[in-house]
Symmetry: C2
Subunit: 444 residues, 2 copies
């Protein structure tokens, strides 16, 4: 049987939902979605995935197949299944704009809704914000390492499934990646799609030269992969092709995908230049990540663009975030959780970002009704289950916002190494008092 | 615009496809899908994901939206788009049965089809086999560490997207995981779904005791999470509830989700036993993985089951496999790729698994027409684009197969530490000769 999207949830959300309904626990609750601690190699995160979440919340309904399946589990009453048939998300959502840098304990999303609704959407909301925030936060490092050179997403084949492959391309675009090889992402999000050629194309021809000739004639401005057999010999074939094709020769770049990319790039550049092919660029791929790109460019490798796959697509050095979705208020009262290392700050929140001379200086994490200096980051994007117009932004607007906001961060945060000191996030007096009143220890 | 499933591919697959069509390169090609090197902490992989791939191959068609989108890219001729409209996968597929342990360089899949078809499916096939093989190979370690105790999948919220969350539950089941919290996976695959309660349920009530009472009365056999405020105090509330409910008390377990799980389990067990609640089990969750479970059980922690989320769902210690899909034969001739560290063995293959006294001893990787001792692992599962009956197995058959095959592995492979020596995979004489004739160096 096919899976119902609405059932992409944890069973306990449904058992709790039934209990909430039966117990009449329908007062308004506030949940915060936040990351407890940043991964060691992340100085900031790039909030991403909100658009998808709002779309899911707006259209969340239990289809007949879902209800029929739940009926087979022996835990749910007919009365409850009837309630699910008309279940909708009717709450409000406050969120940090996609593309905004965020830090530990800062709510990326605050959901304010009747308890059963706010509870039920937990798994779906976490899954989607986690994925895109994780991947945008990785990609922004790769883009920084590339120092303005093009980065192309090659990650589909090793992304974790098809949803991840698609959403990755979107998150990467937000983070400044130039293009994606994923055609469906081009279709879904209007992204620039880009591709070169595979080794198998070369292998399928009787000679590398013949493969290059055919592809170059068919696709002006293409990129030829030169390392199927021997990269330097491959470059010589490209040069031979240029000599033969003369003015018709229009190859944008060669691609190096294996071996010592730095050394091969130097050699390839030398050969291409000696043949007058100054305008043929060098594109590199193969197990690249931000560290390797940084190393290559720091050593002066003449590389013009990078295809980055697996490491970026799975965020290899930090493949998950310590993301949490926690009840902070119910029935107008702040709620706490005191589990060791998993404490939650009670009450609805606002983040105030304080800038000085065009640079971000620090954040104040406050109560939602605090009036404090700085720019409030949490904005209402959904009211009564309907998206507000201000929640609809084009992907390019989001990307531009991300680039601007990242640019305003102190340089130490934008570097690839852990920022020392890390970014400063202070608690507002109201929040600190709230915390103290609950007997919580002082901590950052 | 929504994404067309058929476009979940890399752009170069389509540009190469057009070139193959135009050049008349339609001879039969064989591609091997294999993992070049195993991650450091994997002694073997568990092949998984075949069923999904065969389903995708059988139904692969270009819908009108996909063709319309491709038309906007300016790279594809009307003639080619017309060819895509009738494009189908008509090839043969040979595969290792799902649940079978595999090793580096062993084809998990061999696709034999007209070159354009075999090439085009690359990204989709890799994405899906990579995901489920990655996750089954991680989960089998977690199951081994749990030494027969139940392992429940709690991974949906931090799995990389919805497809990953769903497929993860399937792969985990194959690897021996007992149940999943993911309701959609229960629906789609008939898996056992399981869940406890969230801290937010406790927080939403005026007292922990009241929350426990309500939930326990409603859900006989449930599990109560005790660490919202203080785990030991929480256990005492459960004991108080048992005293009050008397014979009606039916709680299967308490759940510990934070703190020193080993120490808390000992204390909880002592308190429960002292109250005569011998049958109330202890279930642990919170940042668990195979190492932590092994550590807890080796120290004698009285834990009866484990909820494992993020680490298993993203395969944190090895979030990707070095999986490759490479042309090995075209037009009846073996094809090679010589890129450094990315060499490909030419020709179609067969894997022969040699057993001795009920234990697997070593593999012989041979040519597909080799006749050698041992059990051949690659079987034909699709012919002319249609699934063969033998490719249809129930998920429980696959799981049983996996358990049996893993059990036959030498103990050093089933341990959590790197096997010394690693599993032995020899090349058959025919394959070694083939390799030598192409001037390839000897290597394992």
């Amino acid at each position: 049987m096919a899976a119902s999207r609405v059932l992409l949830t944890d069973l306990y959300e449904l058992t709790m939902l039934q209990a909430y309904f039966d117990e009449g626990l329908r007062d308004v609750a506030a949940f915060n979605l936040f990351v407890r601690r940043l991964p060691e190699r992340r100085n900031y995160l790039v909030a991403c995935g909100l658009d998808e979440v709002l779309g899911l919340l707006e259209t969340l309904t239990f289809d007949e197949e879902a209800l029929a399946y739940l009926g087979t589990l022996g835990q749910f009453s007919d009365r409850f299944l009837g309630q699910l048939a008309t279940f909708r998300f009717t709450g409000d959502v406050y969120a940090v704009a996609e593309g905004t840098p965020v830090f530990s304990n800062e709510p990326i999303l605050e959901i304010v809704a009747p308890l059963p609704e706010a509870q039920f959407v937990e798994s779906l909301v976490m899954n989607q914000i986690h994925l895109q925030t994780l991947l945008a936060s990785k990609a922004v490092r790769v883009v920084a390492a590339a120092r303005g050179r093009q980065v192309v997403d090659f990650g589909l084949r090793r992304a974790h499934g098809l949803d991840a492959g698609l959403k990755a391309a979107r998150a990467f675009h937000v983070a400044g990646v130039h293009a994606t090889s994923n055609v469906a992402a081009g279709q879904a999000y209007g992204l620039r799609v880009s591709g070169t050629m595979a080794h198998s194309y070369v292998q399928a021809h009787d000679s590398e030269y013949e493969a290059f000739r055919r592809f170059a004639e068919r696709y002006p401005g293409t990129t030829l992969v030169v390392d199927t057999y021997d990269a330097v010999a491959g470059v010589r074939q490209v040069i031979a092709l240029a000599a033969r094709m003369g003015a018709a020769f229009n190859v944008a770049a060669i691609r190096l995908d294996s071996g010592d990319l730095g050394q091969l790039a130097v050699e390839a550049r030398r050969l291409l230049d000696a043949a007058g092919l100054f305008r043929v660029g060098i594109f590199a791929s193969g197990n690249l990540n931000e560290d390797e790109i940084d190393r290559l460019l720091s050593a002066g490798a003449p590389i013009d663009g990078f295809g980055v796959g697996t490491d970026m697509a799975v965020s290899r050095d930090a493949p998950s975030l310590d993301i949490a979705y926690k009840l902070v208020e119910y029935g107008g009262r702040g709620r706490v959780k005191l589990s060791p290392d998993k404490r939650v700050l009670p009450g609805r929140k606002q983040i105030f970002r304080i800038e000085k001379g065009g640079q971000v200086e620090r954040d104040l994490l406050g109560a939602h009704d605090d009036v404090l200096p700085g720019r409030p980051l949490l904005c209402k994007v959904m009211a009564g289950g309907a998206r507000l117009p201000e929640s609809r932004k084009t992907l390019d607007e989001i990307r531009t916002h991300a680039m601007n906001e990242v640019q305003k961060l102190p340089a130490r945060l934008r570097s690839l190494v852990p920022a020392d000191p890390p970014y400063r996030v202070d608690l507002s007096e109201a929040l600190a008092r709230h915390r103290e009143a609950l007997g919580l220890p002082h901590e950052r």
